[in-house]
Symmetry: C2
């Protein structure tokens, strides 16, 4: 059986297009923080990432799916390829990609750092998870940790000697962090004694690094009830001595591994803290502010989930594209002559539809996630306070979309990649079924689809009297104005204008209802999330089409045939999205404005 496990991890032309043609990342080198960078240094980082991802991460993607981490009651064993890959990653210095030079970092912009990460996610989402978790953990400690915590944990995390986790979820509480019951009782020496159980802790145990630093949410007895009583603690697997050497084991026990449908290479653990009353943690920041610290990192964590969903979709798209170009299969409906040679799959209209849909989903999602990362840069290093505030506003608004849209539609892309492979796609001899299994998690972790929907409609579009949405509408207007000037894009401009005004209308309709009947106003929050998601992605596609159309116009005689094909493909994918996808939103807006109560009125006993 032929295989396509060597499916490319990215279309480099698209990566270049996104970074340098759409997002003008080169302009960031004008900023003080990135002044030592050039387009070439950005490309060098990307090339390094591409090489390590291809050579060290991709080859064991299937292997670590087939050979999950094993726990014998004492130790977790993981296939050695995972550690080799992570050591290679640490060797690149990319763990500190966006950190200060003085910490050994590269001071790369977030958008370039995320583009580097995207290659690892594409190559091997499970192995790259250890990296993501460690970076997120280091970010929290860097920002909110004490000097002592930074000294003990931060540099080893950035060097890849220690790995990190985020230990939030508990079995009885799930998404409802308000209901966690892990306690942290003050000890006489200023430390805390932790006790409780956590579940779904990715990377919660392994021997890939010298130590594991858990960031644990827990409640200090006597504090406020609910989320206002949650504090954050560092809880190392091994204590760290003042000289940086490792001390004794802390009282953190692996209660068991969780076996998932996909993402199997990452240990997913149940952890017991303080079974022997000897689990020692240190408070991060102030008591009872733990959730705020954690949520400070949430925008970036959610971009990470969205980007992961995109890359799984992207790789499946590339695999199915290769397959469709190579596999002979069938003839056109009009060709009844069995002696003509079979066509390549890509010649069939329905296969082309499935490729075009995938392209629209994954390249749209990729553009969205990189745009969000670019907003992080704008928020951090924007030229004016206003620019930085604007970026923060947009980022807040778009985060639920960045997290949820790719997890829904790039999963659909994975399904289409299977479909193009036919029966082969469903077998474990081909890579696409794994991408589909891996990607299904993204609709759940870091906040389910339902939670993103409530966040978007209940908070983000309403906050500051709708300021974020108004700001985003300005971005859409600008794209609409530009598209109107370009031949072939005016229908898209009209459609986006209608989508934008429908969004604003719907929010205006729901705003007063939210105050008087919250449950009714939020009953169809999911429809709003989906409609707004499609609107945002239509906008991001129009931005790409504008750039592509201009490139074709401005350089009609100077560009290569390959570039011309590339730009035409961008415009066609944009058209497809506007013709076949965006119009779905009108039904959703109509039901939202009509305050449809079909689900609310469905009584539990009627099921």
């Amino acid at each position: 059986m032929p295989q396509t496990s060597d499916a490319p991890i990215i279309n480099p032309r698209d990566l270049e297009f996104q970074l340098f043609e759409v997002l003008d990342v080169e302009s960031l080198t004008q900023r003080e923080r990135h002044a030592e960078h050039t387009r070439e240094t950005f490309m060098a980082a990307l090339d390094t990432a591409h090489a390590v991802a291809t050579e060290k991460f991709a080859p064991h993607n299937r292997l670590s799916d087939e050979h999950e981490p094993q726990f014998d009651g004492r130790r977790v064993t993981i296939i050695p390829e995972v550690k080799h890959a992570l050591d290679a990653y640490s060797g690149t210095g990319l763990l500190a990609a966006s950190k200060d030079f003085e910490r050994g970092g590269m001071q790369l912009p977030s958008v370039v750092a995320n583009a580097c990460l995207s290659l690892f996610k594409s190559a091997n989402i499970a192995t790259s998870s250890y990296v993501m978790l460690t970076m997120a953990n280091a970010n929290v400690i860097e920002r909110f940790g004490t000097e002592s915590q930074k000294r003990k944990y931060l540099q080893p995390l950035l060097d890849g000697r220690f790995f990190g986790t985020m230990a939030l979820t508990e079995p009885q509480a799930g998404s409802s962090l308000s209901d966690i019951t892990t306690t942290a009782t003050p000890n006489a020496d200023g430390t805390y004694a932790l006790r409780g159980n956590k579940i779904f802790i990715s990377g919660g145990d392994h021997e890939l690094s010298d130590n594991i630093v858990h960031l644990v949410l827990a409640k200090i007895p006597g504090g406020p009830a609910g989320v206002k009583g949650i504090s954050l603690f560092t809880v190392p697997k091994h204590h760290v001595n003042d000289d940086g050497s490792l001390g004794a084991r802390n009282d953190v026990a692996l209660a068991g591994l969780i076996h998932k449908m996909g993402w199997r290479g990452t240990t997913s653990t149940m952890l017991s803290f303080g079974e022997n009353d000897a689990c020692i943690g240190e408070l991060v920041g102030e008591p009872h502010h733990g959730l705020a610290y954690m949520f400070h990192m949430m925008n970036e964590a959610r971009i990470g989930v969205g980007l992961g969903a995109v890359m799984l979709g992207y790789r499946g798209y590339l695999a199915s594209l290769d397959y469709a170009r190579e596999r002979p299969q069938g003839r056109h409906p009009t060709d009844k002559n069995p002696s003509t040679p079979q066509l390549r799959l890509i010649e069939h209209a329905d296969v082309r539809r499935m490729l075009l849909a995938q392209k629209a989903y994954v390249e749209g999602g990729y553009a969205l996630c990189l745009y969000a990362a670019r907003l992080v840069d704008e928020q951090n290093t924007g030229d004016s306070a206003e620019a930085r505030a604007d970026a923060a506003l947009l980022l807040d608004l778009l985060t639920p979309i960045v997290k949820s849209w790719p997890s829904q539609w790039c999963l659909e892309a994975n399904s289409l990649a299977i479909q193009i492979h036919g029966g082969y796609g469903y077998t474990r001899e081909y890579p696409v079924e794994q991408f589909y299994r891996d990607n299904r998690l993204n609709l759940i972790h870091e906040g389910t689809h339902g939670i993103q929907a409530l966040d978007l409609l209940g908070r983000k579009v309403m906050m500051k009297d709708g300021a974020a949405l108004a700001r985003f509408a300005k971005e859409m207007e600008s794209a609409i104005r530009e598209a109107r000037e370009i031949e072939g894009l005016s229908a898209c401009a009209d459609a986006l204008e209608r989508a934008s005004s429908e969004t604003i209308d719907t929010v205006a309709h729901l705003r007063p209802v939210l105050a008087r009947d919250t449950d009714l106003a939020l009953a169809n929050a999911n429809a709003f999330l989906e409609a707004f998601g499609h609107t945002v992605v239509a906008w991001i596609w129009l931005r790409q089409a504008i750039v592509a159309a201009r490139a074709l116009q401005n350089a009609a005689h100077a560009i290569s045939e390959a570039d011309r094909d590339f730009y035409r493909g961008k415009i066609q994918a944009c058209q497809w999205f506007f013709r076949w996808e965006l119009p779905r939103i009108h039904l959703q807006h109509a039901r939202l404005r009509g305050l449809d109560d079909t689900t609310l009125a469905m009584e539990a006993a009627w099921f």
Copy 2:
């Protein structure tokens, strides 16, 4: 961790509703073929099926997923629970459920036989596959086989001593049967020497039965090219002597097992026929008519796939419903008091949406598949030649929908079942992730979605000058008329009327194009398949709502509270489908009528 592996396999109240209230299956006892049956004998068969499915099939559903069949190069080993279950199944006599009494059959109507089968599919799709394949095989031999073939194979197949396969697909040809290359060369004694390779042959090797009877498509050298040169052969694993005893092994070799994402309990095989030039087969029927014989069974095989997809969705729905009723999680958006007890999941609007969507998909799909099986009865035993011809026409038209719609939407139901479980749903500790993996195959086998779409738009709605669609429109009109008389259903009646006339308009638009530019007319066949599928299911939901509304009206004081809840749930699910799902079709019809060429115009080089 709590588990729900004991999820019920059916809602018995729904089964009763479908059979006796919607489809009036009891009236079939008026027909000569079923005259010895009563509602009670139907229920007895269903009760037997329910008991065996629950006790013998369901318990090893996860186990056989985790312990796939193994091939050591010589023998295939399968966990013993599979054989125990299949022996129990054979013991029920249900293999011959719809066969003549004189063959030891039960002469059950197809709709009741399919309802029985549905319970096994729900309990364990993989183990039940051996049964489905054997029944399909026996049907072909019964109808087209020689007396000698019937003597040697048919009774052992109906008794469960032999199992059967359908060996169509080849590695280089896939769905394009025109391109198969397996040959069957006549021997002097009237038998044929087969040579070639088949792939994706489910149940192609095992030791679950004394023998395996392969039905193999092959070409007799010198025959016509393409599908017109395909003949059908019986090729047993072990030859059968005239006295019924087993003879020597035939030259059929297992070249390897295929490892799938789901459906793991069924051996999926690559078979080599005639590696040692000693593979002997017998022709079924006339030379070169093989495909017609196979396709004669295709309607029923495709109902089987649709029903399997439904039942995987149905079981996931019931599992997530149980979970949502039991699991405490979170509070209403307006409740900011963390000391109030957590709500059950089912109290959240978005969870209720996900349950209602699942209900609409799976109960709609169930109603559709049982309706199709009822058409098989009408086709076989209808009161007049006209009734039988009408049923055949409707069945031909609806088969692509029966096969494709559940495979798309009941898979979506499985995804929603995972979502309701949150992170747990994604783990192998809960049953729903397996249903999702199992169900993904249904979009591919027995004709992919794309093939169903071409069959529907290119042939079924066009054939006989649109007679089938016109006949179906009459069915819709009758439901529309009835619904208009019922309070609360008139909006649904209007919506279905619009859907019906849009369908007819679209077909009228495309008919002339099909003749002059087939590729353009069929370019969006997938959209037609989806739009027509939603129209058909809207109709089937309206039928259910009409029955439910009448039951509520007629017996307002006599029915139990449980029945009242049940009927209200049916009406609400119908409303949900009409409000949130059916309106999707307008976009699809608009694009179809506009002859949208976005995918056709996308050149291969642009990807």
